[in-house]
């Protein structure tokens, strides 16, 4: 019993710590988690950590929340998941509430206005850069289906004003069909090579 509460406490403090000091979202926090839980605590092995990360990427929403919930669940069941969930949420919750009040108080300040305006230019560049990288990644592979999906989705948004949900449903279905066809082909190949051996 005592050991279990020690694990819960450690889960709570480490997710609290990671969530307070990791700037930059999922892709920054996941390697930090790996270091903490795989190397420092030696609770989970490398391979399982990779599994947990791919599960957290397979669901919609915040990857850092997902990864910590999964680690909590893996170490201490549902209570563990609840503890790591809470630990991950508290820091951004407090910080953004504080920022919200500060923003309300200082938004009229000229200096703050200039600072925010400058930082806005930064965030625009970040978004443009992100779009550039995402589009390049799709075009570079030179596969017809993703490229067609990209342009169909753009047409759906800008010309037909389709709802986001329909677009996601469409692309998800395409992905599902493509994958199941690929799996079938793979099976066929395995079968053929087995028959050839015979």
């Amino acid at each position: 019993m005592k050991k279990e509460s020690r694990i819960l406490w450690k889960l709570f403090t480490s997710t609290l710590y990671l969530s307070t000091f990791t700037f930059g979202g999922g892709y920054v926090i996941l390697p930090m988690m790996e270091k903490k839980f795989v190397e420092d605590f030696e609770w989970i092995d490398e391979e399982e950590m990779l599994d947990l990360i791919s599960i957290s990427q397979s669901a919609p929403g915040s990857m850092s929340v997902h990864a910590s919930v999964l680690i909590g669940y893996r170490m201490a069941g549902l209570i563990g998941a609840l503890v790591t969930f809470t630990g991950t949420i508290i820091p951004p919750f407090i910080i953004m509430n504080l920022l919200s009040y500060i923003y309300g108080a200082v938004r009229g300040n000229l200096l703050i206005g200039h600072l925010l305006r400058g930082m806005q230019a930064g965030i625009v560049a970040i978004i443009v850069n992100l779009i550039y990288k995402m589009v390049a990644r799709i075009l570079k592979k030179k596969k017809i289906i993703p490229i067609a999906t990209l342009f169909l989705s753009l047409a759906g948004i800008f010309i037909f004003n389709l709802n986001i949900i329909y677009l996601l449903l469409f692309a998800g279905t395409v992905g599902a069909i493509e994958t199941s066809l690929a799996v079938k082909k793979e099976d066929q190949k395995v079968r053929n090579s087995q028959e050839a051996k015979r």
């Binding site: 307070t20 700037f23 930059g24 979202g25 999922g26 892709y27 947990l52 957290s56 397979s58 669901a59 919609p60 929403g61 915040s62 990857m63 929340v65 999964l70 669940y73 969930f85 820091p91 951004p92 919750f93 910080i95 953004m96 509430n97 920022l99 009040y101 923003y103 200096l111 200039h114 600072l115 925010l116 305006r117 400058g118 806005q120 230019a121 930064g122 965030i123 625009v124 560049a125 970040i126 978004i127 443009v128 850069n129 995402m134 589009v135 799709i138 999906t149 990209l150 989705s153 753009l154 948004i157 986001i164 996601l168 692309a171 998800g172 992905g175 599902a176 493509e178 994958t179 199941s180």
Partner: protein, 189 residues
Amino acid sequence: MIYWQLFMSFLRIGLLSFGGGYAALPLIEEEIINSRGWMSTTDFVDVLTMSEMAPGSLSINSATFVGNHIAGIPGSFVAALGVTLPSALLVLLLAFVYYRFRNFSLLQGIIRGLRPTVTALIISAGISIIPASLFKDNEMAASVKNLDFISVLLIMIAFWILRKSKLGPIQVMVITGVIGIVSFGIFPS
């Protein structure tokens, strides 16, 4: 009821943002600016700026901020819970399925299939947000006279830094923020 609306809006954002991080951007924009009218685009860009500077993911940060803006601390609580809890439960369910069947290829295929559409959605959100930073007065028409040249220059500098150096988003924003204080101070619009 406002709390229920906040919760449901952010639940939708949490359950539809596939790919984490900026994948939430078009959804937040749709819910907060377009369908509910809780914020103007200009205010929303400020929210994004602060969410990026603070630790934590874009979705929780903006949920907390918008929730507080709309309905104080209780509002921020329901919004943050809405954006995280349902998807966290979903991920637990996925983990359960995964450990039972050890087969994930279909799900990963779906996620891969979603990527081009998520890209298109981020492009459209970007296009509607960028003018807030490009023009001096967003009530006025988009014209060369209204164009904020300092911001345009800052965006180009920031983009160049992001492409050519190893500096991360936060460092870039600190740089453009500091240049912003100096240059907007010298050349007030």
